[in-house]
């Protein structure tokens, strides 16, 4: 297992370098002058020139990239143009919140998808299956912002059960934290739940029609053992892939969800950085998300290998 993990890890390094180049180039390709945007309507040409110089924008592109890469090698992502805060510190401050949100929404997704997928695969075409299909299709189609606004309207404005926004860390007040996270986590998780239900249903359906399942049944093994041990274990492989992809996608979904529920996480920081052209923050965050997605796909591969030994020896 370890050689596989190492091989897999080393293979990502050149890709990461390409990512740094892309991140740098993208930030440069964005229209608009960050100095102009920072100084706003009141900028004078002199103030603009001063700021451009202190931001290093007057240097050549290769030099800017080189300096940035050099800092990066020392885990220095630079300082926010907005308030001079360290980008690394900013990211570390925001990540736990977004992780909690992603974790809770994944929990929601699993709690919904596992039973729903299994039940509908066991009775394909039945009433429950058709209901689950309908619900999961709506779950995939409904955009995050719509579900979010709907929840706020229903539970905050009409029923006044849950505050529409706000954030308290788990360490500060666990109960309040969970109450406030309920709606955002549900909003973010509903799409993943729907996708995973669809995957689980079709892959379990396929697994249950395989010869080994028929053999197991013929040997007189109880149907519970057949479904969970023989069927589900094999059916889970594509579901793990889907899970990994969803986890990566959650970062993107979190941007919108955090905006709607005013959750002070990674996504809101990113939106803010984009709107204020806070280049160091933007570059640092895009890079951090790229690394995170690499990490997730790495872990997914490991999980794969654990479930299906054939993958390790390929």
């Amino acid at each position: 297992m370890l050689p596989f993990a190492l091989r897999r890890f080393v293979a990502t390094l050149p890709t990461l370098l390409v990512v740094t180049l892309l991140v740098f180039a993208l930030a440069k390709l964005l229209p608009g002058d960050p100095a102009r945007l920072l100084l706003g309507e009141e900028a004078t040409p002199q103030a603009l020139a001063e700021l451009r110089q202190s931001m290093g924008l007057d240097r050549s592109l290769p030099e800017q990239y080189g300096r940035w890469l050099l800092d990066l090698a020392q885990f220095n992502l630079g300082h926010s143009l907005k308030d001079n805060a360290s980008v690394t510190a900013l990211i570390l401050e925001k990540l736990p919140t977004t992780f909690e949100l992603a974790l809770l929404s994944m929990l929601f997704a699993l709690l919904l998808a596992l039973p729903a997928g299994i039940i509908s695969a066991l009775r394909p075409g039945g009433f429950v299956d058709r209901l689950v299909t309908l619900l999961s299709l709506s779950g995939i189609s409904l955009p995050n912002f719509f579900v979010g606004i709907l929840l706020i309207y229903l539970f905050s404005v009409k029923l006044a059960w849950i505050p529409a926004s706000g954030y308290v860390s788990f360490a500060e007040d666990p109960l309040k934290n969970l109450t406030l996270m309920l709606m955002p986590a549900f909003t973010l998780g509903i799409g993943s739940a729907a996708v995973m239900t669809r995957y689980l249903r079709s892959s379990l359906l396929e697994a249950l029609s395989q010869d080994y399942v028929r053999t197991a049944k013929a040997k007189g093994i109880s149907s519970g053992v057949v479904v969970f041990k023989h069927g589900l274990r094999n059916a889970l492989i594509p579901v793990i892939t889907a899970f990994g992809l969803q986890l990566g996608g959650l970062l993107g979904g979190a941007v919108i969800t955090e905006q709607i529920f005013s959750v002070p996480g990674f996504g809101r920081l990113l939106v803010d950085a984009v709107f204020t052209r806070d280049l160091p923050v933007m570059q640092g965050m895009v890079l951090a998300s790229a690394v995170l997605i690499f990490l997730v796909s790495f872990l997914v591969d490991l999980a794969y290998a654990a479930v299906d030994p054939r993958i390790r020896y390929r």
């Binding site: 002058d33 308030d83 905050s156 954030y167």
Partner: protein, 492 residues
């Protein structure tokens, strides 16, 4: 945090959350910089005004009134301003606010690297400390707008001790002498301030003031409805009627200082002839814009000075649309088939506005292509004069000079049209060198007559301040600069 700054916070904790009154305010963006010298965003001012006192303030009629300065004298043909300061005022860190602190703050605004105040204070030659409570500002030449400028960030007095220690990071832990002191900030979530119980004008009526940013207007509104916040500013125009009909809330709707309209690049071939610019401006139905796009939450504009501001003149009328006149002017200029590009940003209101303009222009046979770019690019292209016409307004300043000078003088920093008219330059310079407002107003009106005829810019509407609040919140003064001063605000 020094000991003296912890005290108010501890006092707050001791009171307990049951009796401590917290007011939460929803604003439209996370304030970028809480440093009077470095702040360039409008939203910063909402928070800065609670933390910092200014030399002078504005009242609801835009009159300059005493704040840290009890009184002032203008001598030497308007080049010497002598301020007498209130005595016994202390900063939140316990250090005394005296003439030396005032000099320090003004010098800091004029010299700090990246300071956005340099332009506003460029008329100052030097600042002299006469004694502890007297400070003198000497100008290079007479500059009438100075008091207006000092009623905003340029006149905010910072604690020299704290500013010296923090340097450029001062905005992360700002220390002033205002009614509220800075406690903490969590980016994109909240800025928390505590009442300054030793405030020279008496302790505030609320104990804690929390600002929370909600960039989305719907989310801001939903948070007011659900009770998560008690005040929101601004309210989206589309929510105004709903809020007015809801008995649990109140709406403050009053005139602001700013304007919105369209710039014409006078160097572009399409707009070189002023008759063409006059023609385009003549097709705009300003009443319709106010009604259709803004549900009458803005007022139609005919010039740069909103009603209620010192230089407003009733002789400058809001023009009525005149399509026949527009066609005549175009024909005379030989541009009967006029086509140009209108540059704007892609938010919902601007999109709607641009489309409405497009329809209005087309009545006179004018073809307009709408090009949408994000705000930074728009400013950038405005700087490089890379546009035909451009939708851009101004948040407004209490002194009339701030609404015209940089926009219409030759080479002015905000002169997007690249407009140049020697007579206008002379008039605007004369107005700025005069102290008496009545004389300045007359000069502005002469200058305005020429600008309105040349049409480098056409004014379309004046923004209004829209503040939503829960019933029970009282004491908010409708000061036209749109900043809510929370010193005397209370909640039932």
């Amino acid at each position: 945090m020094t000991k003296s700054r912890i005290l108010p916070v501890l006092a707050l904790l001791a009171l307990g959350s049951a009796s401590a009154q917290t007011l939460t305010v929803g604003i439209d963006a996370d304030p970028p910089r809480l440093d009077p010298a470095l702040s360039s965003a409008l939203v910063d001012r909402q928070v800065l005004n609670q933390i910092f006192d200014k030399l002078v303030d504005l009242d609801t009629d835009l009159k300059v009134v005493p704040m840290l300065a009890k009184s002032w004298k203008i001598t030497n043909n308007g080049t010497t301003y002598t301020f007498t300061l209130r005595s016994g005022v202390r900063f939140h860190d316990g250090t005394p606010l005296d003439a030396a602190a005032v000099k320090y703050s003004l010098d800091r605004n004029m010299t700090l690297e990246g300071s956005v105040r340099k332009n506003e204070l460029s008329s100052i030659k030097d600042v002299k400390v006469i004694n502890d409570t007297t400070v003198q500002i000497n100008l290079k030449n007479p500059y009438g707008p100075l008091l207006g400028v000092l009623s905003d960030r340029a006149g905010m007095i910072v604690s020299p001790k704290a500013a010296e220690k923090a340097g450029k990071d001062f905005g992360n832990d700002p220390v002033g002498s205002g009614p509220f002191s800075f406690v903490s900030r969590k980016r994109q979530d909240n800025i928390t301030l505590a009442a300054n119980t030793r405030y020279w004008a008496g302790a505030p009526k609320i104990d804690k003031l929390v600002y929370r940013p909600f960039p989305d207007g719907d989310v801001r509104y939903a948070n007011l409805l659900s009770g998560a916040v008690q005040v929101i500013t601004p309210v989206d125009p589309k929510d105004v009627t709903k809020l007015e009909k809801n008995s649990r809330f109140e709406l403050l709707n009053y005139a602001g200082l700013g304007y919105q309209g369209i710039w014409f690049n006078v160097n572009r071939d399409v707009f070189k002839d002023k008759r063409v610019r006059q023609a385009v401006a003549a097709t705009i139905d300003r009443e319709a814009v106010a009604k259709v796009v803004f549900q009458n939450t803005v007022s139609p504009a005919g010039g740069p000075f909103p009603p209620g501001t010192p230089a407003y003149s009733s002789s400058i009328k809001v023009p009525k649309p005149d399509v026949a006149e527009a066609r005549k002017k175009l024909a005379a200029a030989g541009k009967s088939n006029l086509t140009f590009t209108l540059l704007t940003t892609p938010n919902a209101i601007n999109t709607q506005l641009a489309q409405l303009y497009q329809a209005m222009f087309s009545q006179a046979g004018i073809n307009v292509k709408i090009e949408q770019v994000e705000f930074g690019t728009l400013l950038d292209r405005a700087d490089r004069a890379d546009f035909d016409a451009l939708m851009l307004g101004w948040s407004g300043r209490p002194d009339p000079d701030g609404n015209v000078y940089d926009f219409f003088t030759t080479g002015g920093t905000n002169n997007q049209a690249r407009y140049s008219n020697k007579e206008v330059d002379a008039l605007l310079n004369k107005a700025r060198a005069t102290s008496a407002m009545s004389a300045r107003k007359a000069t502005y009106n002469v200058a305005l007559g020429k600008i309105l005829d040349d049409v480098p810019y056409t004014w379309v509407y004046f923004q209004r301040n829209l503040i939503g609040m829960a019933k029970g919140v009282s004491g908010i003064q409708p000061i036209p600069d749109g900043i809510v001063r929370f010193h005397n605000v209370s909640i039932k």
